[in-house]
Symmetry: D2
Subunit: 368 residues, 4 copies
């Protein structure tokens, strides 16, 4: 009952550590007949990759994936797809001095408490490095969702520190707008302020938190399984599986606390002249419900936000304790992201894609 | 692949609708030998029960549970425990006028989109009525956690509208403080303001949102399963399975967005004179991490918050549409909660208990 | 990690003991829109019921099911269906004298070893009484399979002791032929011999084993999931979940041990004039493969056989031991089946139906 | 809902085809702290390997495993273990002539019916090649079972064609006896007859079936989960997941059909002078129950048998049909096993080990 699998009909199972041989994902449930090529995986892996810009970690990882199985003559066969990404830049020596120290904010202590042992080289399995194969699996899910349903998933930076982007229409944000700057914020003015802030904290040997926003459009109404596998529950879990996520909300989120029902309820409308399918043309004026009612998709854009804590690894010296209970100090000399937000978007998108792919397949079974 | 089960080692499976014969839960995985009696279930069911006070729905439901199996001579046998709660107050006539109308903010439309049909009597499976058996199962989980580990779980109201309780020490809140007032807020001054506000919105035929806070103390360090069944992920999902929850955060939550790493990192300390077990006496000065690091419990109190939207059912008239696409208006004449917060605490506690019971059993398998 | 659930897309979860309040099943995954009524459950429950004839146990159990949820206005709603069958004839006193004795061939000792405790009243959870709700769930599965695919499932007695029925065309056996005699053997001559043999062993205070054969026709080619959820694997497991089953085979079964490949291979043929669907008209001359190749259905009849041991409960005195390790003797005075075969057919059919319903839903997800 | 995972607490997930890049298994749930090295995997892989003797397929596959993750400094870390075995001998040209033909007895037709496509190079995912990573995972499970419980698992050939080995004490068979001859039969006289028979059918361009027997000793009493995950059910399923298995039985198996209860019941005995643990010294005189009562382990040796069909691939010409429905003939020119039995033992042992490892971990949660 360890927890290295996610999803039911579309299920990913992963293995790998930051400084082991590599990471691998087995994707189970991809239907036969989907075109799939290594090229489909590269764009998102590049967006997640260390060393991609001046404001992220300068570690070098090519993150070159190899599809080991499940694809034949360019098409999925319906059998399980394994993707391997070998580790290349394993500077274990960077970590040898922290072997017996618990890094504040990291899982060093909790892994030790759990297993009685830990791989002290850069976090082992608790490192965000394991997310590279999630991103690869997410690219497969995205392709399936795009081809079968026209679903589009996009993530971007909404807030860094006190700088909050102005994005009135989340469902209209384009990948071009997001990728137009290295912080991945579609508000170009705020993006520059964010970059400057990240640069400032980096020079200060510090780090900064933020909020990411994720949007999925064209999700059909009716996805999600009452009462425990509601779409909001599976999406919520998916976000919380990602490192450093301390909060998740959808639609109006925590803003609902101060709302009255008359304000918060999204009023249904008939969209005139739309598709002939009976329930296809029902929309809501507003989207406080973030695309899910009763935890089931409503056909409106799914809009979520994740709170991401500031990077725990600091090159500045901090107090801590050792495994055997002595007080000490620590400064993690590795090359770390001063802000996790710019690289978060592809991870968040990948997990949303995996959840939606799962529920796409599950929905097929809920009607005769 | 429907979604009526939750958990792995401690697993609950439920069935039932608001206006059917009743609701039932099967609890799988309770170890043999635990003392269990119907009396163990009643306190939390009473706290969830409609009609318990002037500020909640005035529906009458006795919510009397029957333990059908799995208990013999006052002890659990290790086999599956079924608990049945029959429905009593089934005023179907209250709902007949809304048979073809989609209530704003409810799952009427999304259920129709999903299944092509729905039980229009009060929400059917999408009604919060199904949570009564979750609360019963939670009481079983709580008993196991309390007896085996001394774990204590408590939920209370943190915020209603703009009124925010002042609770500096979540881990010190007692059940007596919470149950001292009908809104279940341990800050007695703010509790009275909340009650007055709820009374005001009720008279106004409106409803109001809020925030609940949930705390689990004495959870051992080391629970949670990397990388997908992190404790934060399973707890997050559990909260999002509950009706009306639009946001979940733990520890500092969304407050982390404006924090620097130097501020946010909780510094490890050795608690002098404590237990001899090596890692048992490590704590942190602050608890921004909400009791989980790398998604695994740290031994510090687990602190979570849920944003709860204002009740969607309003007796005031609202615009909406019918199943066959006509514009209409709706006023839901049933007896509804003007604020969901007072009855939320036992539901939230129950789901936290189910997750912790699951991970308690799962943790047994992670070490030789 | 207890084991009270079976199936994935069509999943049953059960609870209940022989002498508790009753047994309950929750069926998760039945698509919305299927007509379902209590009348659909009764025929198979009657075929499983104690006291139905002179050659089965004379216990009286009406086995009246109540559908608690998931059906509205005569149709399934897509949400979980709970069915409750209360226990009526709970003669606990029959068992009080065996409270500390381990009945040979029963699970008394193994349950004690597992849980450290057991419900000594008639086997508790290890009693075959729990199969009544499986049969109810199987009736739901059968209805779905029949309406969606025209699948027909039938079980009957192939062998009792040394008497082996002559059934050259398993796929042609009708329910009328099976139900024409109380032993449920479609070979009328051998049926009478079986009945006489069962009567003889009963008078002798003994019991007798046998073999049941189960056939499913009209199963489409392509069901089953490589490599672990092959149809043969899930059907094999399903049969082994039933009490007293010591062996399972399909097609030629153990007879394959003496076959050469040239004899055993079933040669593919084109059935002229059949359906236009490309692979729909391929059959095999013989059916040594029992309807499954590579563990996936071939479209040919699925034919399985189960070896059922003689009833372990004997009213004749046998040596045994007590819980605290003393030698003693035991004679189980309850009313037991002298042969389990006549009542096995509906149980076996039910489990086959549950597996096929599961794979019917799962197959929907394996192609774009 | 595809089926590439097996087990719950100890879970394996696999991917790979006969002629793809390789096969990979992710093992989830191995507790931390187990010594594990590549050397632990090699002996069983060698026993499964093609080309190992004159009576098996002469394909050359080194089957060299690489442990990608989950092991650090020679010990398991508690996180998921990935093992990769690359394919080396991929003579795709051997199969090009059968691209559109359905090989009798193979999964070619059923895969096409399932997925609408298939990897025609040697069976793809339906090839027994995928079992190499199962054997690797089984070696990990065996090591855990041996170190924690002293469990020993052994498989051997019981029957080939009409030649049946005389093995009165299955629990006493040693690995030395099994590996003393190339057919893996511990009866040395019958082993020579089996080898001669296999050689004869090979020369005759034919193949022959048989029966394997598998024994697990030192399994503690109490393993297995009522009512669906009984040990007999999970072991039964495990055996049926293996290619070519048409029948599974345990204990007296199909022999029970002709037994009376008085003959078949295994009488409990107290073993004098044994361990002080209360239920530890209860055994049975005979072992008709094959080590499982009520589907739960009794502490007696677990004894199972599998019927294995003759290899379907024959170099002799057979009738068949093409994908587009034309009659043709086929002779599979690849290098195939004339009898699958000699290489079956490690596969069967591996699956038994995986099931027992799963239930070992699951049993930890069934008692307080």
């Amino acid at each position: 009952m360890a927890g290295n699998s996610f999803g039911q009909a579309f299920r990913i199972t992963t293995a790998g550590e930051s400084h082991g041989r590599g990471n691998v994902v087995i994707i189970d449930g991809v239907p036969a007949g989907l075109s799939l090529d290594i090229e489909d995986l590269l764009p998102d892996l590049d967006r997640r990759r260390p060393g991609q810009s001046a404001i992220v970690t300068q570690r070098k990882e090519a993150d070159t994936p190899e599809i080991l199985s499940g694809v034949f003559e360019g098409k999925t066969t319906g059998t399980s797809i394994a993707i391997l990404i070998r580790n290349e830049d394993q500077r274990s020596k960077d970590y040898s001095n922290i072997m017996d120290k618990y890094r504040p904010g990291h899982a060093d202590y909790t892994f030790d408490a759990k297993y009685g042992t830990r791989d002290y080289r850069g976090g082992g399995r608790s490192s965000a490095r394991e997310t590279n194969v999630r991103v690869a699996a997410g690219a497969v899910a995205k392709k399936m969702l795009s081809e079968l349903f026209g679903i589009h998933i996009i993530g971007y930076v909404k807030q860094v520190g006190n700088i909050i982007a102005d994005i009135p229409q989340p469902q209209s944000v384009t990948m071009e707008q997001v990728e137009a700057n290295i912080v991945r914020c579609p508000d170009p003015v705020k993006a520059q302020q964010m970059i400057a802030l990240i640069d400032e904290v980096r020079k200060d040997q510090d780090s900064i938190g933020g909020v990411a926003e994720l949007v999925a459009t064209n999700v059909p109404a009716g996805w999600g399984e009452p009462v425990f596998d509601k779409l909001k529950a599976d999406l919520g879990k998916a976000m919380f599986t990602l490192p450093a996520v301390l909060g998740v909300e959808y639609g109006i989120g925590f803003g609902c606390a101060t709302m009255r029902g008359t304000q918060n309820n999204d009023i249904f409308r008939i969209t005139p002249g739309s598709s002939s399918e009976k329930s296809g043309h029902i929309t809501t004026d507003t989207n406080h419900h973030g695309g899910m009612l009763g935890g089931i998709s409503s056909g409106m854009p799914i809009v979520m936000r994740c709170a991401i804590k500031p990077t725990s690894s600091l090159s500045r010296e901090q107090d801590t304790v050792t495994r055997d209970g002595k007080t000490t100090t620590i400064a993690t000399k590795g090359r770390h992201d001063p802000c996790l937000l710019p690289r978060f978007a592809p991870m968040g998108e990948a997990m949303i894609a995996v959840v939606l792919a799962d529920h796409a397949l599950r929905q097929r079974a809920s009607r005769l």
